[in-house]
Symmetry: C2
Subunit: 342 residues, 2 copies
Amino acid sequence: MRDAGAEHREAFPRTPQYDAANRMHGTAFPASLKAGGAHPPRPPCLTCLTCLTCSTATQPSLLSGPRRTVSARFAHATMATTKKARTHPPYELLYWPEIPGRGEFIRLAFEAAGVSYTDVCNEKKDGINEVLAIKDDKLTVDKDGNPPVFAPPALRVPGESKDGKSLVLYQTPSILAYLGDRLGLAGEDEIEKHWILSHTLTALDLNNEAHDTHHPIAVTKYYEEQKDEALKKAQDFRENRIPKFFGYFERLLQGNEPAGKGKHLVGGKLSYADTTLWHILNGLKFAFPKELEAREKDFPLLFETFYPSVQEHSGLKEYLASSRRKPFSMGIFRHYPELDRH
Amino acid sequence: MRDAGAEHREAFPRTPQYDAANRMHGTAFPASLKAGGAHPPRPPCLTCLTCLTCSTATQPSLLSGPRRTVSARFAHATMATTKKARTHPPYELLYWPEIPGRGEFIRLAFEAAGVSYTDVCNEKKDGINEVLAIKDDKLTVDKDGNPPVFAPPALRVPGESKDGKSLVLYQTPSILAYLGDRLGLAGEDEIEKHWILSHTLTALDLNNEAHDTHHPIAVTKYYEEQKDEALKKAQDFRENRIPKFFGYFERLLQGNEPAGKGKHLVGGKLSYADTTLWHILNGLKFAFPKELEAREKDFPLLFETFYPSVQEHSGLKEYLASSRRKPFSMGIFRHYPELDRH
């Protein structure tokens, strides 16, 4: 998990180069952050959205754009409030609004399992304040006895801590391990459970390396301030790291083919390792389209069986087609053509 | 988990600059890698030791230096073969020889728990071949049904898979989560267990960021080839990342003070989150001595209570004083004075 460092909450000036880069690269900047001259300073790495940290007090309009309420969400949502879902506690995802980011790994687990959850920042008008509260630099322990969160995403589970208090967990792999058991996405036994966690960690390493292609020096600096280094980092990532990771996951699928039929990394059913890897492949297709197009044929199980199978999975398919799925923009996966294969 | 990429097993030329840098910086190069003109090509990042991957066939002398056998180890070991230890399966750590690296997090868990294990590469003459076998680029599934390992460390547990076969796990946090339950280092209940995993993941993020200060562009390149970028990365690491992480861990200790007395991140007893964080602090003291000296006073619980308490813990204290504890050298934590505070 990376973040931009709360010590860098100071406003970062909006530069002409930054705006030009946005236009030139055709990246989708979150609509709620685009409106007019009252635009808050943009953070160097939107994945962390640290500008929101300092702008909420003075820029309430930032958070009052068109935002779904829970009921509105469920009016168009395709996730049924099934009996299964109703037996779960009221899970709450605490993550920045409007971007997939690292919150997406948690969302996909819920959506694949068909279990209801509240995406606090995307569903509650003042949800951002709840995210800020759990990572406040002064927090040592919250009223329910939870430790502070280093960086979002976090999962809050009302009623699941001691004496009926809320439990708060953070770190994507830890949240997935907790939810995996409860959502039926953690394998059939203890062994599969640990392999699923291991492969998820490897996929998340790939995720971090993808992030670092545009921020190799400092998350607190703009991409444009480290572009020379980014060009070098991206070249290594494309030429060495992508084939290494893809080759590894291809081999996992081959080894698990008797049970998984190329559709699952571990065992014979969907796990959070599958959803996690799928999202990263999806992000890489967005960020490095030429590189991926050139590579995919070398990993047929990964791209011809696994990838389409996961995105057709019940629950995921409907989510991915919905407006709840946020487009990639200026987060972990960014499309800078100069970082892609030429 | 990072590695240097098996696709880069080709020999890397030993440059005069590299040798000069080793001498100048006074870093302890593993003795077994130093001997004479038959020195194998050195890898860009020794943490990954990929040169061993290609050199074992042609450089057997590399692996035949003074190496403890299991019995020799226990002759001087301070870890008693207690009744507790004897009830455990014969755990095997599969990691590169001669460096702490990421294997150290696993070693510390065993040592703190007083539970016996075999450090395969450091105890068996041909142990390196066992590490190479589990991460072989052609492996899809091993004879016991285990998936390949992306990169060491791995844990092999004979008899613990189906039908009495060996279980193989990889990824440091996943291994620690598995062992934590079994070694009594994973907290008192399900909630503490997840917090311990979360904090461990955060500490390991700090570990990775420390590594990236000397390899910001590519693990397959020498430090000297990315020194300009390393200087920038290290500055950001020292000025922004170190205080952010230290501040977070200080707050965790404060919040847990009623139970942990400043000695433990979670609850009232040692966990693998404590041992993991301790090793990283120890590594940072080696790599950035001036920076740490200047910072420590700002984090009194972390450096005046937690740090000395963990290293005095029974089992750890004896291990740290023994020859089994490898010195830092050219792995994750490296002392390059130019990357430290000036």
